[in-house]
Symmetry: C2
Subunit: 640 residues, 2 copies
């Protein structure tokens, strides 16, 4: 898999205020997350004790049992941080003084919780001050610092407020004194990666090279021998072999990152690491690091990725298992892991400009990530199964509430994933009705996008320019769009002439008001999985555009597992927009077959089951579990 090496980053995302989302697909999701998700999540963080924890000061070492029966959690600061980050994006989308006040209060509480020496982790400060920096393998100090850094960057970018940034600069100074190559320092790295990608974001905002260097240190140090986590364990008087996760693959610390070629261990940890690796490779032009990124990408997408963009099938390690092990009913496929995949894919895309990364970004975003958040904005999946007997539902909250604010911060910052600005180039990665403003050669360019994507494949883009301007407008052509049409100024353009790395590269001297029209092919596809994926043998998954579809029990009179589809029946499926259904969505309708049980009076017999006609309705996977609770399946048995 040759992939363009990132001698320099190909694309820079547009800043959030430069993108308006005005469609009927994402805009309502953003609205529900702002109106209901943010208050709900803050309320839950308050109930759980995570907000009060900010005000705890060093005291008795015993960990209290809270009103709700839980105890303070060492990852709470990260949930607060993600909420602050998400709320900051909300403020970028629409001013809201009341919300801004809440964010300010949390930031003030964080600042007040910072210790004299710069340390900031409310759990360790209050409950385990003597255990600071003693078990990075299992605890989450650097992870929390990473999320707080991201929050600080987002807050600064949106509001210009430097308060949290300054708090974090101080804390990072302390961290740089603790971790590093020096003789008195810990030669270590995070047990849960996150801070690396955050430091790179911070570097780009501040331009301060110590942040780049610190990220680089963590990435380069990871997995060296002797293993840091083992040394740490010995220092605590523990036997490293007694590590409860059994293997340092769990945190991708089993070998140096440039020698890794398989996605392993805890899936969220892996995605955050790879995101930072790709970003660092693009920043520094590090070829060996980029090579590792493309190997790992190939491994994930070639052997270990659900069709929904979910990843990490096993609940055991919240992560990866073996090649082609993609069970449907027990899929863990954590929402956070798919959020992390979007991050990674966006960094691979920014580095290379290759549409294959955008395709996977879109697959994860429109399916696993979106399913993770209910339409109401205040109900969430932690794990995303691809088959259910009716007992899998979104919950209000979770003892480990990583996913809700993670999906929220991604969806509220969606605008920054949709476009990429390059040198004399503006690329459209995701087709979302609205507007984007960029600068090319110091001149303003606006794209006004009209589309009903992903329900319809037509996209019209009108260029707003002050005067004619030569540049390349790159439009992503998803690999799944087989019969794609393109017009500039009403004149058809031969795709073959301009298609490079998954983008139609329209290099022109553009004039104000120029119109580009794209027709993507949203024909329903029946996907087959690689024959080594046992759970999908003899089955197909329906996809239309970026959306994977599923069957739900509520739409069918027979149990879902008895429904089968032939290739012919797939070809006859019709997409029909149902405006009244869950805010409006495109369902697939047609005839399937159902295995007939009426003539069975034994458990086994010589004759196969008869097939009888069965009306079929498929709905986008991202919208499942919003109606009568019942069975669901993505992979449908084939009947020929």
């Amino acid at each position: 898999m040759p992939s363009q090496p990132p001698s320099q980053r190909r694309y820079t995302p547009l800043a959030l205020p430069q993108v308006q989302i005005e469609d009927l697909f994402w805009a309502p999701r953003q609205r529900s997350l702002i109106e209901r998700g943010l208050p709900h999540q803050l309320d839950q963080l308050q109930r759980s004790g995570a907000v009060t924890a900010l005000e705890q000061r060093p005291g008795p070492l015993a960990i209290p049992i809270l009103d709700w029966g839980g105890t303070p959690q060492m990852f709470w600061d990260s949930d607060i941080a993600k909420w602050i980050e998400g709320a900051s994006y909300a403020l970028a989308l629409q001013p809201d003084p009341a919300l801004e006040e809440k964010v300010d209060a949390l930031v003030a509480a964080l600042a007040a919780a910072q210790q004299e020496d710069g340390y900031l982790n409310t759990y360790f400060t209050a409950h385990a001050p003597h255990q600071r920096f003693t078990n990075e393998r299992d605890w989450h100090e650097l992870y929390c610092a990473g999320h707080l850094t991201e929050a600080a960057v987002a807050r600064f970018q949106v509001t210009g407020k430097r308060d949290l940034l300054e708090v974090m600069e101080r804390y990072l100074e302390l961290l740089r004194s603790v971790y590093g190559p020096g003789p008195g320092q810990k030669h270590g790295y995070p047990g849960h990666e996150e801070i690396e990608l955050a430091l790179l974001r911070l570097y780009r905002v501040t331009g301060r090279p110590e942040h780049l260097a610190f990220a680089q240190y963590f990435i380069d140090e990871r997995g060296k021998s002797p293993n840091f986590f083992d040394e740490e364990a010995r220092a605590r008087g523990e036997d490293p072999a007694a590590y409860h996760q059994g293997t340092h693959q769990y945190a991708q610390a089993h070998r140096p990152v440039r020698e890794q070629d398989q996605v392993v261990g805890h899936a969220v940890r892996a995605m955050y690491l790879y995101t930072a690796m790709a970003d660092l490779a693009a920043q520094t032009g590090d070829q060996s690091l980029w090579a590792a990124c493309t190997r790992l990408w190939q491994d994930l997408t070639g052997k270990r990725l659900y069709v929904t963009g979910g990843l990490g099938p096993s609940a055991h390690n919240e992560g990866f298992s073996t090649d082609y092990d993609l069970p449907n009913a027990t899929a863990y496929a954590e929402t956070c892991a798919s959020v992390g995949l979007v991050f990674w894919a966006s960094k691979m895309l920014e580095a290379s400009g290759d549409g294959r990364y955008a395709d996977v970004l879109e697959q994860a975003l429109y399916n696993n990530v979106l399913a993770g958040v209910g339409l109401s904005g205040d109900r969430y999946f932690y794990d995303n199964v691809l088959e259910s007997r009716g007992d899998h539902h979104r919950w209000e909250w979770h003892a480990c509430p990583c996913c809700p604010p993670n999906a929220l911060r991604l969806i509220l910052s969606l605008g920054s994933y949709a476009y990429g600005a390059g040198e004399s180039e503006l690329a459209v990665h995701l087709y979302i009705q609205g507007r984007a403003r960029a600068e090319i050669a110091g001149r303003p360019v606006e794209l006004a996008v009209e589309t009903r994507y992903p329900w319809e494949g037509k996209v019209a883009i009108r260029l707003g320019l002050e005067s004619p301007l030569p540049f390349t407008l790159s439009l992503r052509i998803p690999a799944w769009s087989r019969d794609t049409r393109l017009w500039v100024g009403g004149e058809p353009v031969q795709l073959a002439d301009c298609l490079r790395d998954g983008y139609a590269r329209l290099e022109r001297r553009w004039s104000p008001g120029d119109l580009v029209e794209l027709q993507l092919d949203l024909a329903v596809r029946a996907l087959h999985a690689h024959p080594e994926v046992r759970d999908d043998l003899g089955r197909i998954a329906l996809q239309r555009g970026p959306l994977v579809y599923c069957l739900e029990g509520t739409d069918h009179a027979v149990p879902l597992h008895r429904i089968a589809l032939s290739q012919k029946q797939v070809a006859a499926l019709a997409a029909r927009f149902k405006p009244e259904l869950l805010g409006g969505l495109m369902v697939l309708r047609g005839e399937a077959s159902a295995l007939d049980t009426s003539d069975w009076d034994t458990l086994y017999r010589d004759l196969p089951a008869r097939l009888q006609p069965q009306p079929l309705t498929a709905v986008p996977y991202a919208f499942w579990d919003h109606r009568a609770s019942g069975a669901m399946c993505v992979w449908i048995p084939r009947s020929g």
Copy 2:
């Protein structure tokens, strides 16, 4: 499902010494169990401490940790008992003074362990004398008493020795004083059923009505309200709701047995109970009890039985789960449960004379039970999966060693399951080369059976009589034999004229030397499971005669899960006898298809996998895991 009610028992089994097994299928199995299984099992019982336990006397209450790290087990007496029972059958098959001495010594030790008041349970005597009869729900006093009773009966029947019988009569007298309807008695019943069927065996050997009445009491009392196990728990000061199994379905004590209509709970417990219920119904002509038996039978065979005759899919309760829940890779299907099904089926058959019960008996016996014991006689499966990735193998021993002696005692007493003597009738239930001697109207009848069944379908039976004798010779015609031929004295007999309830009923005045020839149809069948069995959807299982076949990794160059069979390919499968393979067995050979992975460079694609020709070898399930350890599957994907 109308079934002939047992106004009286239709068939009585022949006593073991009346049947000779002289074939190449079962005789070697019996030999290996006698030569290697019995000594191995005794050795393991000695190593584990179960034999030494017989000599323990009341002492300190603390339970010792044994050399091997285990502790004495409250079910050990039952394993000793099953070994004595099996060894007694071995002595019936061939005299062996050394073996007899070992049995005598164990019996003497048991006799010496009996307490003044008749009590006999070496665990409670040595370790928990004050806990006698306080927790029948979880502990195994009556269960052990049942197996010891069976051992006593077998020993007496084979050797005429009354010693163990007398021990047990004394113990049972004590048990009758403890359990019963009287005001000072416990209105209880076993937590693990077994003693009921043993008492019925004892009743038939001794003719003493108190044994019949005691069995009847236990069966009638079971599941009444208030629940005995709950009362017992309260008496111990425990909360009955804290029962770790959660439900009295576990021991089929959730409601009176005559009101039960679903096979539930621990599978071995269930089989032993139903065996006793069927036997009691036949003994007493109890119509409501028989009706419960037929309902439960219909439930088991219609919804909850593996094609291999395995049952109880769940490891969680070692038993039943929900209708049609028959997972292959995680099948528990304990060997003991299938042994118990053989017991139950034989009692249903004896009661009704209906061949449908013999069909299931044979299915369980030739597949799940037989697989449970390795060809060497000293390796055993506890759980019998129908699909393995290569990590499921027979073991030498198990901390709960119920299965090895259970399968052993069944296989060594196989002769008594093969024939049934009725009024003026002799029935052949199982076709095994050898001889059977019975008496009809006081006159001796011998059947000399020649057959290579189950490898071949031809069966020749020559009648040995002193003089002409009118009686009915009933030959079982398995339901799976579609094109069955029958000849008497070389003359074809129309099956339709004589087939009743699954048997060809040949009512004749038979003469010495008369020859009956039967040709069963051993065509390979592709079985389909009821569409509600999710794990078998789109799959077929191969069966030839009574034998279910499976694929093993060692015979195939591609992973088994990629192999698929069409109906046409099934029809072309050829049975070929391989004399050199595992002592000689019939394999199925032919062409299948394998999903081709060579042209896959993605995880998902629009085109289905190509099929390529793939030589296929199927071996009987009972013989799997005897060669290179690898994958195995019974249910093979269909390719059309």
